[in-house]
């Protein structure tokens, strides 16, 4: 605490006990109240940028400045260059199309899969191991096979996204459907509610918070999938991944960083949008912070 203390403060409270108590009562206010919550991350950002400049100008050989281009050149040489910006935006649009299509299909398949498993033990026992296996296979290992079967265009890229985004949807939806309170289940059982009624009026609404949490994770993964797919399927229309790969091979430092930053921001935006959708859908009755 460096704030200027009233000069009389320490003097009047000569009894150390009293001081301790008054300190303790300040405690709750100290946490987070001193700065608005956005200040610390911004400070970290400033430090990182400063370090970056230091590395660009002092640490590395000027001839190799493309390795760590000074931050402003990412704007002057890449984002503000109409040609580069156009390329990046076009690639972003393609990758976004792939990621969102893959995500949408993964949500539908994952949901149906989880609902099927929630309906009977034997279905769950038959199908859940495959969900786990799907999660355990390094998707990268499957990508060449997908190219082999489905070619190198849009469908193949979407399939990569589906495979990578499917598991969180399946597991979260299943967890959500099964997490229904026993008493609530019995309430429905006492009224002889059929399975469909239990699913639509009890299990599905109860599972929504978990489903949205799963979708948020999957949304991030789908973005990863779209970019990974690009790296492998060099042919076809290039997305962000292909663009990144091109800039890297052409040693275009600022452009490379610009494309990476765009991909990162896209991932963040998708994550935030799904967080917001979840809040919109269940925020009234469900508290995610619990």
């Amino acid at each position: 605490m460096t704030t200027t203390a009233p000069p009389t403060g320490p003097v009047t409270t000569s009894n150390p006990k009293i001081r301790t108590i008054s300190r303790a009562s300040e405690m709750p206010a100290r946490r987070g109240a001193r700065f608005p919550s956005w200040v610390p991350p911004v400070l970290v950002f400033v430090v990182i940028i400063a370090l970056w400049y230091f590395v660009s100008y002092v640490v590395i050989d000027p001839k190799q400045s493309f390795l760590v281009p000074p931050p402003h050149t990412i704007f002057t040489d890449a984002f503000f260059d109409p040609k580069t910006l156009g390329d990046i935006m076009e690639a972003l649009a393609r990758s976004a199309g792939v990621a969102l299509t893959g995500l949408a299909i993964a949500i539908v398949i994952g949901f149906v899969w989880a609902v099927a498993m929630s309906q009977a033990r034997w279905i769950e026992r038959s199908l859940f191991p495959y969900a786990v296996i799907l999660q355990c296979i390094p998707i990268l290992a499957l990508v060449p096979l997908i190219g082999f079967w489905f070619g190198f265009d849009f469908p193949a890229r979407v399939i990569v996204c589906i495979l990578i985004a499917l598991f969180p949807i399946v597991s979260n939806t299943l967890f959500g459907l099964q997490s229904v309170d026993k008493g609530q289940r019995e309430l429905f059982q006492l009224q002889k509610a059929n399975r469909w009624t239990v699913l639509t009026k009890l299990e599905f609404p109860a599972a929504l918070p978990a489903i949205f949490a799963g979708m948020r994770i999957s949304a991030g993964l789908a973005v990863v999938g779209a970019i990974v797919g690009d790296f492998f399927f060099r042919r076809g229309e290039p997305g962000l991944g292909a663009l990144i790969s091109n800039y890297q091979s052409r040693v275009q430092g600022p452009e490379l960083f610009a494309a990476i930053i765009t991909a990162a921001l896209f991932g963040v935006v998708v994550f935030l949008v799904f967080g917001w959708l979840g809040k919109l859908a269940v925020g009234k009755w469900y508290d995610y912070s619990k």
Binding site: Q184, L187, L190, A206, V282, W285
Partner: protein, 256 residues
């Protein structure tokens, strides 16, 4: 083991629940109940007290049909059964109004009827003005009221209560006891109430049944002579204290 839900003969029309030599042994071999004989008639409010784990709740589960007994005969002469759980079991995404409508909705009662039924029940339990509130914004006592209202929409002839007020503070509990007595006096259902509070048992009921520890058996039955509606002050009369003392004594005997 048989379970019938149709009223057998005219002589038993007021007998809404009848257990005869009912026993319950769980698949793991634990005997929860053995040789239970119990009848609850219309206009009777029977309270079961007993130590934890004596199978009190199992008794309700058998009566409601949630769990079939493994031996003995159970007759339930009505399909209109109200069941109030230990927790309010409200659906957190539904408003009070929608929660209270739920059971009627599950029974396929048309929207218009169930809306008015729910409104009536909400008024009865004193939650008027809270229809649009979500459960998380209500206190524990208010949630229990909503849970009671939900069961009331079924016009239950047999009302089962599984320690509904156990988690509430003393003051709320006493207030809800009074309101339950009011409901009982007006509606004259057959009540079967589980609790481990002796004073609650004596205050609420026409009859108190004391159960022993596992395996749960009925050790003693006490008729409660006080008239309805009951004055909260009877709790402080010597008669009340004497009866409560006897019940406590039977409870201790059965436990050891």
């Amino acid at each position: 083991m048989t379970m019938t839900t149709d009223p057998p003969v005219a002589t038993t029309t007021t007998e809404l629940l009848n257990f005869s030599d009912v026993a319950m042994t769980f698949p793991n071999g634990t005997t929860a109940l053995s040789g239970v004989d119990l009848t609850v008639k219309k206009g009777e409010f029977v309270t079961v007290v007993g130590p934890s784990g004596c199978g009190k709740s199992t008794l309700l589960r058998i009566a409601s049909g949630l769990t079939p007994a493994t031996a003995g005969e159970t007759h339930v002469a009505t399909k209109r059964i109200g069941y109030v759980f230990q927790d309010a079991t409200l659906l957190p995404w539904r408003s009070v109004q929608a929660n209270v409508e739920l059971l009627a909705e599950l029974n396929g009662i048309p929207k218009k009827t169930r809306v008015s039924k729910a409104a009536e029940a909400i008024e009865l339990v004193g939650l008027k003005g809270f229809e649009k509130h979500l459960p998380k914004t209500l206190s524990g006592g208010m949630r229990m009221r909503a849970s009671l209202a939900r069961s009331l929409t079924l016009d239950p002839e047999l009302f089962l209560f599984d320690e509904p007020f156990g988690a509430l503070d003393e003051i709320t509990r006493e207030r809800l006891n009074d309101e339950l007595i009011k409901l009982f006096t007006e509606q004259q259902f057959a009540g079967l109430f589980i609790t481990h509070s002796v004073s609650e048992a004596v205050y609420l009921s026409t009859r108190v049944v004391v159960m022993s520890g596992r395996p749960g058996k009925i050790v003693e039955t006490f008729d409660v002579p006080f008239a309805y509606p009951r004055d909260p002050e009877i709790r402080f009369t010597p008669e009340f204290a004497e009866l409560a003392g006897e019940v406590s004594h039977a409870l201790r005997e059965g436990h050891s």
